[in-house]
């Protein structure tokens, strides 16, 4: 019977089709990060907040005639973007779930880990773009400060620069990891802010009260482990703290989250 023995022409000839290259996935995911009103404004708000922060710092220091360094401008901007970059990381993942576009995305690229990896790469690229914007605006602000005050201080160590990039990237990836774990925008944002603002307080209280917890705290406190990066170079202990706490807060949620996404029935 013909139905049971299909002719050769019935088989799908896939020999000439190349698999979707990773670079193309990254470009598509990058496009998704600004092609809706919500995602576009998130990026705009990040840029505007960097601008507003540095300009306010410029105005306040100039008016009060206080001294400031190049690095301070960028530090102020970094403080503000450290709230929004994680949100960006979260939205990169959850917008695909909340809007059910995952069905289309995974139908076009069934190799799901590559889609997730492409999203992570986009997150890192956007973080670096934020860093560049912060540095360029900081440069301009410091020039203006120098022009008004007569003298600009260009102190901005490489250690600070390096730590700044790593901090911002980890902040974004922290959001990304939580989003992959929870696959829910509201949940991921709440947990992220608790992790960022409440947990350090609790760790501080615990460490002050209990000696054993004081010893344990550096190994689980990823935020303070990252702050050590500003005092480059790190000691062996500090490296160990960074690796262990980073494993807890970045690697574990991402692994569980990716495992979940791979197994999930996409609805």
């Amino acid at each position: 019977m013909s139905a049971t023995t299909p002719a050769l022409g019935h088989a799908l000839d896939i020999s000439t089709t190349r698999p979707t290259p990773f670079s193309r996935l990254v470009r598509v995911e990058l496009r998704k990060s600004y092609d809706t009103r919500a995602s576009f404004w998130l990026l705009m708000v990040i840029g505007l907040i960097v601008l507003a922060t540095e300009v306010i710092v410029l105005i306040v220091t100039t008016v009060n005639d206080e001294s400031i360094q190049f690095g301070d401008f960028i530090g102020a901007a970094a403080f503000m973007t450290s709230f929004l970059l994680p949100v960006l990381g979260i939205m990169l993942v959850t917008s695909e779930w909340g809007q059910r576009t995952a069905m289309v995305t995974f139908a076009l690229e069934p190799r799901r880990p590559r889609v997730i990896a492409a999203k992570a790469v986009v997150g890192v690229l956007l973080t670096l773009a934020t860093v560049v914007v912060a540095i360029v605006l900081g440069l301009v602000c410091n020039l203006v400060y120098g022009a008004i005050q007569g003298d600009a201080d260009w102190t901005f160590g490489w250690a600070g620069f390096f730590a700044f990039i790593v901090n911002q990237t980890f902040a974004m990836l922290g959001g990304f990891a939580l989003a992959a774990l929870l696959l829910n925008t509201a949940g991921a944002i709440v947990v992220f802010f608790i992790y960022k603002w409440v947990l350090p307080i609790l760790i501080g209280i615990g460490a002050a009260l209990m000696a054993w917890f004081d010893k344990l705290a550096p190994w689980i406190d990823f935020l303070s482990a990252q702050n050590e990066l500003y005092d480059w170079p790190l000691t062996g202990d500090q490296w160990a703290h960074l690796v262990v706490s980073g494993f807890i807060w970045l690697v574990i949620p991402i692994v569980i989250g990716v495992w979940r996404i791979l197994r999930a029935e996409v609805k």
């Binding site: 008016v63 709230f83 949100v87 509201a186 944002i189 709440v190 409440v198 009260l209």
Partner: protein, 269 residues
């Protein structure tokens, strides 16, 4: 012709239909807070986190032989219901938009202010329930503390302080509600709330320290700061209440007003 002049039978007889009573709307809105998996888990985790924080606090103080009072246990709710009630307030409103159920809700009750008011009442109700749970848990923990540590148990919660505590939690819930009404978008409202409650106080403090004139206006615009008297045990002076009213107007009434105007005018999609 009969088609142009409909008889009495053709008109919709609405004389015997009573409008949807407000109490029914409130009951329906209350049900909506727990009838989805996400909603149910948010409520459950709020209660569980409240209990967990207090139990950890109890374990720590007993293990380290520290002196605590009833009020200290209650203060730990800053890390539980203090954080999650505003999120409940936000989702009360935004879940209706992100899931597009507003279309159904507003077609069954076109008097939109009634629906919003019902959600508002549900929010306050949940805040009160959360407070009761917190008070009960704190009572249990304090009693256990006395039993386990052998120290004298201090019950230092006056009626006034309890009223303050209720007010504090209701305001937390309503701030979330107001931000949600303003933005009608869960992620944006949650981020705004978190920035408002964690980042803004630091910036206000910094501004006040650096700029002379800002220090003078800061108490009038810093709603977080204005609520300090409600939980620090010092009570609220007349000045405090004035600061509370003015900053509360800025952070609660204004966004709520703008938000409600927006909801009433919005095309529901």
């Amino acid at each position: 012709m009969s088609t142009t002049a409909p008889g009495l039978g053709h008109a919709l007889d609405i004389s015997s239909t009573s409008p949807t009573p407000f109490s029914r709307l409130v009951r329906v809105e209350l049900r909506k807070t727990w009838d989805t998996r996400a909603g149910l888990w948010l409520l459950i985790s709020t209660a569980v986190v409240t209990a967990l924080v207090m139990v950890i606090q109890l374990a720590v103080v007993v293990a380290n032989d520290l002196q605590v009072s009833y009020n200290d246990f209650l203060t730990s709710t800053n890390f539980s219901i203090g954080l999650l009630l505003p999120v409940i307030g936000i989702l009360l409103l935004t879940s209706e938009w992100s899931q597009r159920t507003a279309m159904v809700t507003f077609s069954l009750e076109p008097r939109r202010p009634h629906v919003i008011a019902a959600k508002f009442v549900v929010g306050i109700g949940l805040a009160v329930v959360a407070v009761i749970i917190a008070l009960v848990l704190a009572t249990i923990c304090n009693a256990l503390y006395g039993a386990l540590s052998g120290d004298t148990v201090v019950w230092d919660q006056s009626a006034e302080q309890t009223a303050y505590f209720v007010l504090l939690q209701v305001i937390g819930m309503l701030t979330g509600f107001a931000f949600a009404a303003l933005l009608l978008n869960s992620p944006a409202a949650i981020v705004l709330y978190m920035v408002y409650s964690f980042v803004l106080p630091g910036l206000f403090g910094l501004g006040a320290a650096l700029i002379g004139w800002f220090e003078k206006i800061q108490p009038w615009i810093d709603f977080n700061d204005a609520q300090t008297g409600l939980f620090d045990g010092n009570g609220m002076s007349g000045d405090d209440w004035a600061h509370f009213a003015v900053s509360g107007f800025i952070w609660l009434v204004v966004p709520l007003g703008i938000g409600i105007a927006r909801v009433l005018r919005a095309e529901v999609k």
